[in-house]
Amino acid sequence: MEVISALADGVLVALQPVNLGLAILGVIVGLFVGAMPGLGSVNGVAILLPFTFVIQSFTGGATSPMIFLAAIYYGAMYGGAISSITLGIPGASTAVATTFDGRPMALSGKAHIALVTAALASFVGGTVSNIIFTAFAPALASVALDFGDPEIFALMLLAFATFVGLGGDDIPKTIFSICIGLVLATVGFDIVSGEPRLIFFDITGFSHGIRFLVLAIGVYGIGEMIWTINTSRYSSSMTQVDVSAKNIWLAIKEFKTAWRGTSIGSALGFFVGILPAAGATPGSLMSYGVTKLISKNPKEFGKGAIDGIAAPEAANNSASTGAMLPMMTLGIPGSPTTAVLLAGMVIWGLQPGPLLFTNQPDFVWPLIGSFYISNVVAVLINLAFIPVFLWMLRMPFTILAPMIFVLSLVGTFAAYLDMFDVWLMVIVGVAAFFLRILDYPLAPAVLAIVLGPIAEPKLRQSLLFSDGDFSIFFTRPIAGPITILAIILILLPLFKVIKNKMKAAS
């Protein structure tokens, strides 16, 4: 009852004109970045994070900027389907699975059904996940209040271990990516001893540390853009869509046949989304796979099955809320986008973690309320403005790309008023492009940069407390199982190799 009352208050705050306006604006921006191939929610929130200082300076708190960024996140999950269906190019990796059936359906002249199914499935996925989030989050936060330094460090270790064990990327490259993110987070002055660390070539710009935004915008604003230009080569061809009111109404009626995919996507997406390293992309792929597996007509999948569109779209929306759960309750982001949101919370003066629910209810509940509002806003805007988004998708990438470069440079300078950061951001972006070509996963590095400044003090405090004895991470009742689980996850790829060798030998 207490939760419902807090949520009702939160919804009322989220409905205040300023917050509602920001949610609408955020959803529109999100739909756009989600729909544009090469841009995803993480690019949107990373590039626009510096601009939230403006919102904060007007509204005075952290709630409104966070509502804006969360709405971008939401909108992007809806938007990804638009280009998957009409261009055959996923607007973001989270919409890859939507292409499997969305594109064939569009090519068979039913693009309107695919677009409406994607929007409605996203809405159902978002609503189901919001309800689960509201039910679980306060309970998890209250359990997490008992966590000490070793428990929090063990959780961080678990977050990184999931990348290694379940990430699906090249393992040594994933480990390298995590470690370089953690090392770059140590540049500057050591907060414990006050000693300078890793001040490269005595350049004073490094003494304030490498700021998160510099790396996030470098990777997602510059590196990803150059990579997209290199892979897409500025080319795409769009399917014509008849989006008359009559066709949309017929498509809405058709949606009831997609109940199976929608239900599986909504439930599975949320729980996969909670896992660090998993998130919306594997959530949507898994939901697609499971729906196909239990479908009565699995042969229709890949040829334009309605369930094949509903499942991944419900899942990616559900997973985006799922990824918020560890971020809000434990202070551990489950995806690169939530890592940027977490960094934003720190910049706005909040301390993410379990205490957020007790110390900052006036931030938490309006934000949760805004999830519900943004979800409704997103489905309405998506359905009402499909023709506008289709028109925007025709914007040549040769216009969009330089605008993003300009926004990245201006945004980085405006955040810190330091040209050193702008130079560093572009250098990081070019380096990220090279690493991306060679399949070095960059999401773990971004997560590590956010978690590094939290993880190191927790490790050092724990070891100081135990007089240098690492067994503290194994002997405590909560930290122990988490650490052991993390180690198992790290060793998981090794088990797979042994299993494969044994199979090959027999």
Partner: protein, 176 residues
């Protein structure tokens, strides 16, 4: 890709070793501390300041060796790929786009953010995008104008203007 994979692994291994060396650096104000003294546990103080970055850099170094072993055994996708690291298009694009970005950065120090933004957009839209002169000029002029009113006037975030600074003084007189 195969050659690029091992070259990158070697570069990253050297970077890891450099980071290990740098992490062990003693603070300049205390000559009594030897290099690498700070990477261990210090009695009564817990881990030293170099503990965390040094051992992470060490793990980075180990992972680059792992990448090299995979390359040698041809067990990773990149180690068996015969695609070029960057084809002719990719190389040209990188020079044009990357060069344009660094040119943009260099120009900021001379003609400021707004001037550099305008030049960069003209370069990109006209020469890389091959858009019409009308589209090019419309976007290249409007973007700096909108940015000026947003940052300098509305937000009071003053962006560098280089040698074009005197041109903005009348605008400040009018709008501020």
């Amino acid at each position: 890709m195969r050659k690029a994979e091992i070259v990158t692994a070697v570069i990253l291994a050297i970077l890891s070793l450099y980071l290990m060396w740098k992490s062990g650096e003693p603070p300049s104000w205390n000559p009594d501390i030897a290099r690498f003294d700070n990477i261990w546990m210090i009695k009564g103080e817990g881990p030293g300041s170099g503990f965390w970055p040094f051992w992470l850099s060490f793990i980075m170094f180990l992972s680059t060796i792992w990448i090299a072993v995979n390359w040698f055994r041809k067990t990773s996708p990149m180690s068996v790929s015969d695609e070029p690291f960057l084809d002719a298009y990719g190389m040209k694009m990188l020079v044009q786009v990357g060069g344009g970005l660094f040119g943009f950065l260099a120009l900021i120090h001379i003609i400021g953010f707004y001037g550099a933004m305008c030049v960069f957009l003209i370069y990109y839209l006209k020469f890389l995008g091959r858009h019409t002169m009308t589209v090019t000029l419309l976007i290249s002029v409007l973007t700096p104008v909108v940015c000026f009113f947003f940052f300098d006037i509305a937000m009071r975030i003053v962006l560098p203007k280089g040698y074009l600074e005197p041109l903005f003084i009348p605008l400040y007189d009018i709008f501020l």
